[in-house]
Amino acid sequence: MEPAVHLRGAVSLLGRFPALAGVDLDVAPGEVVLLQGPNGAGKTTLLRCCAGLVAVTAGEATVLGHDLTVDRRAVRRRVGMLGHATGLYEDLTVADNVAFWSRAAGARRGDADAAMARLGLDGRLAAVAVHRLSAGQRRRTSLAVMLARRPELWLLDEPHAGLDQSGRDLVDGLVADAAAAGATVLIASHELERARAIAHRSVAVVGGATARTSPAERDHVA
C-alpha cells in the first residue's frame, strides 16, 4: 500500500536556518507514530511540512498521495493540525469558531455539533467568547475544530500540553478512534509515557533529521 507520509532526504529552510536537514520517514495509512526529540530538533517543522504549510526545498515529500514539492496546497484540506497556536478567533464564541471552521472545510452541521459534544463543549461553554476561556478549554475547542473537519492525517504538536487529566484521556481516545477509522496520526510530544502508549512506534528526530525507530507498542491501541 502507498504510504500516507513518505519523506526521503527532505530539507526545509526557515529563512536561512535548515530546520529539516534531510528527513527520512515513511508512515503507513492508519499508523500512529510518535515523533520524539529535544527542543529545536525540527519536530514542529516536520509536522508543518506534512500539512503543506512549509515548503520542502529538497528531497522527496509525498503526503496522502500529493507530491508536496510540486504542489503543497492540495493536501491541506485533507489534514488536521493542532499546533501551539489555537487557530481561533478570540472575539468569537466557541460555537461560532467551530461552526466557521467546519463550514469552511465543507463539514456538515451535525459534524460540528458532534465534535463539540465529544469534547465537552456543548452547553454553557459553547456561548463563551474564546478570549475568556482557559488554555485547556481553548485546546479542546481547537480539537473540536479539527475533529469536525474529519482529516485523513492528524498532525498533533504537543497535544497533551496544558490539558487536565480528563482532557488528556480525551486526546488519547480521539487518536485511538481516528486510527481505528483509518486516519493516520503523527504526534510530536515530550510526554513519552503517555504518547508511547497510544503510538504504534516512535521515531527520534534530532538536528533536523530522523534517526531511528523503536519497536511497536501497539497492544495499547484498540
Binding site: 535548515p18 534530532v206 538536528g207 533536523g208 533529521a209 534517526a211 525507530t213 511497536a216
Partner: protein, 251 residues
Amino acid sequence: MNDSTASTGTRVLGSITLVGFAALLLFGLVLSPADAAQGELVRMMYVHVPTAFVAFGAFTVTVAASVAYLLRRTEWWDLVAHGSAEIGAVLLAATLVSGMLWGRPTWGVYWTWDARLTTTALLFVLVLGYLAVRRLPLDRDKRAGLAAVVGLLLLPTTIVCHYATTWWRTLHQGPTIARADPQIDGLLLFTLVLGLAVFALLYVWMMVHRFRVLYLEHRVEDLGLDTAIAERRREASGALATPRPATGPVT
C-alpha cells in the same frame, strides 16, 4: 580576474555614457541657444525631461518584471524589478529637484499643487514604499513575492496619475515633444534628444551594475547555507551514537 561588478561590456557602456554626459553638458550649457520664451532657463529641460522619461521607463520595467516574476518565479526577474526601481527612484528624485529649480524662476514658486507634480510626488512616495518592502527582513522568496505585488500596483496608480493630469487643467507645460512643435529650435531639440539618449544609457549601465550587485548579495547570503545544513547534520549525528536512516513502516 577582477573584484568588481564591471566587465568589458559595462566598461565600454560606461565610457560612452561619460562621453555622453560631457556632450550633454557642452550642448546643454554652452552650445544650445536660449529659448525665446524661457530664456536661459530652458537649459533645465535637458535634465528635467530626460530624467522624467527614463524614470517612468524604469518603473515600467519594474512593473513588467514584477508581473514576469509572479508568472515565472525566477530570481532574474526579481532582481530586474528591484534594480530598476532603485534607479528609477534616483532619477525621479532628480526629476523632482530639477523641476522645482525650474519652477522657482519660471512660476515664482518651487512647488505648485499642479496635477502632474502632485502625481509625480505621489509616485515617488509609492516607490519609497516599494523600496521599504524591499528592505524588510524576510525570507528572500517571501520578500520577492510581496515586492512583486507592490511593484505591480505601481501601474494602476500611474494610470490614474495620467488621467488626473489630463483632467485637472493647470499651468504645467503640455507634452511638448508629442506635438512636435515646429517652433522648437533645431539645436534645442537635438540637445533634448541627446539628454534622453544619455540618461537612457546611464540607466542601462547602472542597471547592469545594480543587477550584479543584487545578485552578489544573494550569493553571499547563500554562502552560509551549505555550512548551516552541514552543521545541522552534524548536530543530528553527534546526538546519536549510531546514526542511520529511519526504517520503513512496521506493517
